[in-house]
Amino acid sequence: MSDILINKVKQLLSDKAIDIFIGHGEGTGGRIRPIFVRTPEDAEQLIFNENCKQSWANYLLKPEVKAAGKIGMMATKHALRAMMQLASEFQIKDNEVLALYWDNNELKSSADFKEIEAYLASQNHDILPHEQEMIDKLNAMTTQERWDFWQKEYEKCIKCYACRSACPMCYCHHCAAEGNQPQWIPVASHQLGNMDWHLMRAMHLSGRCINCGACAKVCPMHIPLNLLTYNLITPIQQEFGAIAGMKHDATYALSTFKTEDKENFIL
């Protein structure tokens, strides 16, 4: 798989179809790291195997990467969904980013939103069984048990904001956590500050989360904070029929409404 990818990227770079390619590379001790390829020779470092599940879509809006020119990216299913979601939020344009992706062991390349949408529609986007199991387990708990569970998790947080940095949807230049007039989220990494931060983040990602799981994977304190946003995916899909990252022209579920929306808790 790696060879096909390397040859393709070499060709793209020598044809000047792209200026920079974001792909998977060998990291320390078997880890996978993102690598940025600018010349056909450097493309040799690219790899692709079953461990390359990471999405690099969070680099699409990074100024230094954008400054390099036309971007090509090795895209996992999640990276493609992130692209669609970013497009629906007017952050990238059609034909701006060339995505390479595997469709039944065939390496396809496309910058066309319609083609990517068609591919995504053929894929399964459910969250992983062990994640669903954890969500079900939490939902079966009492409110107090859930509170205790999350307080224990929030306590670990050191507020390094790796979750925010790794999230393809957290691209705001001015994050709500940095708003200080008033200070919505305490800057301190005490329990209140940590809880406020994670709830605010989850709420801002509701209806936008493409369940790539990057936030939890990068957390140096191993907080399963992806569950916070994953838990909202099913209700939003059921109640409002919206699923993030499938269409480049989708409307954000919380910026629209239907008069017949249902709820059962308003008197």
């Binding site: 409110t143 107090q144 709420m203 509701s206 919380l254 409404f257 808790f265």
Partner: protein, 153 residues
């Protein structure tokens, strides 16, 4: 026994055009309701940021009421429809992270529903009184932090 002395603090976030006027009507109609509620007036339920609910709990509220115009009655046409979606999601998130959604009462109260407003407030007060002070939040809120002597770690 302790709860007999406990007077719940309730914060009400209400919209200017319906519920605030409804509460006004409650007063002018001389209908009595609990004095535990502090009303904060907003232009529209659409303006009630979800963070405000958390700020209320942080600052010592034991219960929260959120109320605005009935669907289709919004002064700005659609504010309450947007708010409704937000609450569906936010309530789910709060519930999932173990915050007691029993303490948050959502309602639609029009400018003509003075009686309903008194009912909503009184029922919420009774519900929160039965639940007791919101100890979970009080353990982590700001005054507790100030009192903490050894903040090592």
């Amino acid at each position: 026994m302790e709860n007999q002395e406990f007077e719940p603090k309730i914060v009400a976030f209400v919209c200017n055009w319906c519920t605030y006027a409804g509460a006004d009507l409650t007063g002018t109609s001389r209908i009595k309701y609990g004095a535990n509620v502090k009303i904060i007036r907003f232009p529209c339920t659409g303006r009630i940021d979800f963070m405000l609910l958390m700020k209320a709990f942080e600052n010592g509220a034991d219960g929260i009421i959120i109320s605005g115009c009935h669907p289709n009655d919004c002064h700005y046409s659609t504010g309450n429809f947007h708010a409704r979606r937000r609450w569906v999601v936010f309530r789910n998130l709060l519930n999932f992270s173990g915050i007691d959604t029993e303490r948050i009462q959502f309602s639609w109260v029009s400018a003509a529903e003075g009686f309903k407003w008194a009912d909503v407030v009184n029922n919420t007060i009774e519900k929160v009184r039965a639940l007791g002070p919101y100890e979970n939040y009080k353990k982590i809120n700001v005054p507790t932090l100030f009192a903490k002597e050894d903040n090592n770690e």
